[in-house]
């Protein structure tokens, strides 16, 4: 059933039927009802391809996904997707993933925009002065950044958690417990979230006249193995920390293993706090010693971003608003006072 058939059936023009269905004002309410009824009864659905060609709108959101032998999409992405789906289903909102080689992201963005494949895009894992953000801003396609960039010189829409405050508060707690030597196992320092976290830790230490020695910081891709190695090298170094902050639960697994391998205990010898993105399949309370965490559901973030993207599609959200969520600090058994 297409528009022509439907309008013939109703003895109306295609124009009127189209307008009735799309809520234009110049249609009599009676007519509109009649049309809506008939449409529903005959299961008429406008052909999206045709609509797309006519309007230039795709009704989908996009994500340019870097892949490649050297690139591992991180498991957080799946939680993000779950959240996105939570909102998007029920709104018939689809997501287009455009895989790309890491060094061709810009080309891919241009292609996606030129082809009008999607009406808005979502950007993840931003870096300072992220070129993608600049590009999208130039291209004029609506977008939202999950996380934040820095030093861009213009406003852009983002949704981030307060990484700095989270790690500040966590570090302050450790300091209050008497820890002066705090170690940080961070994610890739090229990404803004890691920068903010480090900044938070530094600020907390500075407030007590302490500093974060470079030798107590590691910035690595967030795998269990890297968590292990980083912990090993921290604890076996010449200035071993008595407390460790860790940027992910997965790295914390490695940290726990390292601490145990060295014959140390948590929290007796080493206190441990990690950031928890809230995975259903790995929970901090189930660690051998329940883990104190800074917690923020990445799934909830995904849902919120989908909501805002949808608002952009329908023209409801238009200014480049930034949104920052506070992060919970959840205390569990993995921290204790520093040995004196």
């Amino acid at each position: 059933m297409n528009l022509k058939q439907l309008s013939d059936m109703l003895d109306l023009s295609q124009t009127t039927v189209s307008r009735a269905l799309n809520g234009y004002p110049e249609v009599n309410e009676d007519t509109r009802r009649r049309v809506a009824d008939a449409a529903k009864r005959h299961g008429y659905r406008p052909n999206p391809s045709a609509r797309r060609l006519a309007t230039g709108k795709a009704g989908m959101i996009g994500y340019v996904m870097p892949t490649g032998a050297a690139v591992d999409i991180d498991p957080h992405f799946v939680e993000f997707l779950s959240g996105l789906g939570d909102y998007a289903r029920g709104h018939e909102l689809d997501l287009v993933l455009s895989p790309t080689a890491a060094d061709e992201e810009e080309t891919t963005y241009r292609r996606v925009v030129a082809n009008k494949q999607v009406d808005a895009v979502y950007v993840s894992s931003p870096r300072p002065a992220d070129r993608r953000v600049t590009l999208l801003n130039q291209l004029g396609i609506p977008f939202i950044v999950h996380g934040r960039s820095e030093g861009l010189g213009f406003d852009y829409p983002f949704m981030d958690i307060d990484n700095e405050a989270a790690f500040h508060d966590a570090a302050r707690l450790l300091i209050q417990l008497g820890h002066a030597k705090v170690g940080l196992i961070n994610g890739d320092i090229g990404q803004t979230f890691a920068i903010f976290r480090e900044r938070g830790v530094r600020r907390a230490l500075a407030a007590s006249g302490l500093t974060l020695a470079a030798e107590r910081v590691r910035s690595v891709a967030m795998t269990e193995e890297n968590g292990f190695r980083a912990s090993m090298s921290l604890l076996q170094g010449n200035a071993p920390p008595t407390a460790i902050l860790c940027s992910s639960l997965i790295m914390a697994l490695g940290a726990v293993r390292a601490i145990r391998d060295l014959g140390l205990t948590i929290p007796g010898d080493v206190s441990l706090i990690a950031h928890d993105d809230v995975f259903p399949w790995l929970k901090p309370e189930n660690f051998s010693v329940p883990l104190t965490t800074t917690r923020s559901s990445i799934r909830a973030a995904g849902s919120r971003i989908a909501e805002r993207l949808a608002a952009k599609l329908s023209g409801l959200e238009t200014e480049p608003r930034g949104e920052v969520w506070p992060v919970d600090l959840v205390v569990r058994g993995s921290i204790a006072g520093a040995k004196t």
Copy 2:
């Protein structure tokens, strides 16, 4: 630059230009070259929306993604996506994710097909007599199943690993080491992969006159916590196994924790083998006791499926072929002879 402008510029009809670009035979080779040159020089790219409307082909592949409060997309999906991306980038092949409530999958499939949003779809986590497969078969859209269904009564295209053989071989190895009481911590038994794995274990045991007691089997969602609980209940039951087979590395984390909590050792008291889907962020060789695994890269599978889907789009693959990959058994320190 659109087709009309390009053809005007070349003093050719749109027909000829279109045909030249799409490789139709009724174009002189000289003309074709001339057209191709001009197209490249002016950066002409056919408008996908227009092409879509005219041909009914979208040039994209689809995935109907169940979500909802009760649904956790599992972390394997991200690895699968990586693999898919490995192939798809470089082919300008995009993936459309259509989120759906779990109880409306069928509706969503129908919508996606009716809208011609995609030319082929990929189906994951199949169950026996999976209704999605029946539906897609009826709807006549090309598709590929990652995994297998059973008892469908018709052939369909799939790509699966040999779960039965993998777990058969793993169980046989344990038996050869003298284990008579083998436990199985499986995934959701509603899914075919879990059924095949259990079948493999049973067959191996049967070959030695042993059986897999129901009380030594657990079928649960694959989380660390469930791995822990299942292990606890197995080892504290009235017929504790001396060896455990585990359907995922994540559950194996929980198993290791349970075994340790009970004051038992690996492999002294309990031998452990798990299936490894090859995550970059969690490796069996880095477990406190390196884990023996059945290994199969889910990322490689993703890549292969993308390749076959692309073949379907271009009409190269047409018969409903099934493809089964063998699985490696990688022996590491987590298994030993049974205590006598």
